[in-house]
């Protein structure tokens, strides 16, 4: 009986230690997963070529804390992004929204591509005309035939 009690006592001692070890690194893995997902789309303002998810800058840590709180409050991804855009501007988004001020940004490359295609087509047409418009004259034809015959014999 004493032995059993002692065993139980040791088990009680061991238990909290085990529980601590089993605790996940993040408080709530679901929240953390969403935090990473959102933060990867956001720019860290201190080190601008780094995402908020990857940055260890102090401001990035603070912003992640804010985002974590917003997620816990049940805000959607779009609402979280709006929170940051309203404070730091569109610059925080790696994928800019499509709106009048960003139309040129989104359409620009395609406009340039179309201009390029138009210029190419124009150039090819003009070259075609030049090739077609300079047929051989009678004298040139005869001379060409003479040269060809010379080559055969």
């Amino acid at each position: 009986m004493k032995l059993l009690l002692a065993l139980l006592a040791t088990l009680c001692l061991v238990h909290p230690a085990l529980a601590k070890e089993a605790a996940p690194l993040a408080e709530d893995p679901v929240v953390e997963q969403r935090l990473i997902h959102i933060a990867e789309e956001l720019r860290c303002l201190v080190c601008q070529n780094e995402s908020l998810a990857g940055s260890r800058a102090e401001l990035a840590m603070d912003l992640k804390r804010e985002v974590r709180d917003l997620i816990k409050e049940g805000k959607s991804d779009a609402e979280v992004k709006d929170f940051l855009v309203s404070r730091y501007g569109d610059f925080v988004l790696y994928r800019p929204q499509v709106k009048p001020t960003t139309y040129l940004l989104w359409a620009g490359p395609f406009v340039l591509l179309l201009v390029g295609i138009a210029l190419l087509v124009n150039f090819l047409r003009r070259r075609n005309q030049q090739v077609a418009e300079t047929p051989l004259s009678e004298a040139e034809k005869k001379r060409a035939e003479a040269l060809l015959k010379e080559g055969q014999s």
């Binding site: 303002l45 102090e58 603070d62 404070r87 501007g89 610059f91």
Partner: protein
Amino acid sequence: MNKFTIPLVAFIVLVALLAVGLTLNPREVPSPLVGKPAPDFNVPQLHDPNLSFSPREMAGKVWLLNVWASWCVSCREEHPILVAFAKTDAAVPIVGLNYKDKRDDGLRWLARFGDPYHLSAFDADGRVGINYGVYGVPETYLIDKAGTIRFKQIGPVTPAVLEKKILPLVKELNK
């Protein structure tokens, strides 16, 4: 028309665009808050934790909110300019926002370099800073009588910024 005209013009346009790009500072992110109401907050004051400060108390005044910290190197560069400005006739109340600092460090800093502030609010965890879109101290906001942000200076306030941007705006807003 010479056949080199079009490439030459295109090249000059490209160089002009790149030249303009070089003069822009990529660290300066235009704030979406300019023209919007200054976010409200209520935090303890630096000098006395029992007192609090809210921007509402400044209603009816044109004032500056200057975000600073004792650990911030550029703040030291900016500080003498603010101290001198606070003594001039054209001065407006400057409220300091001591950002992510230790209270003792902040107080020691003011004792050593002078205190140009009407008062300093104490933003220990940086939450007020986030609401104001602060991403690098020092930053300074000019807020009008109705509580709207009219101008934001990112980085230290220089004599040039003070004279060419802040003072003319203050004059206009005080009319």
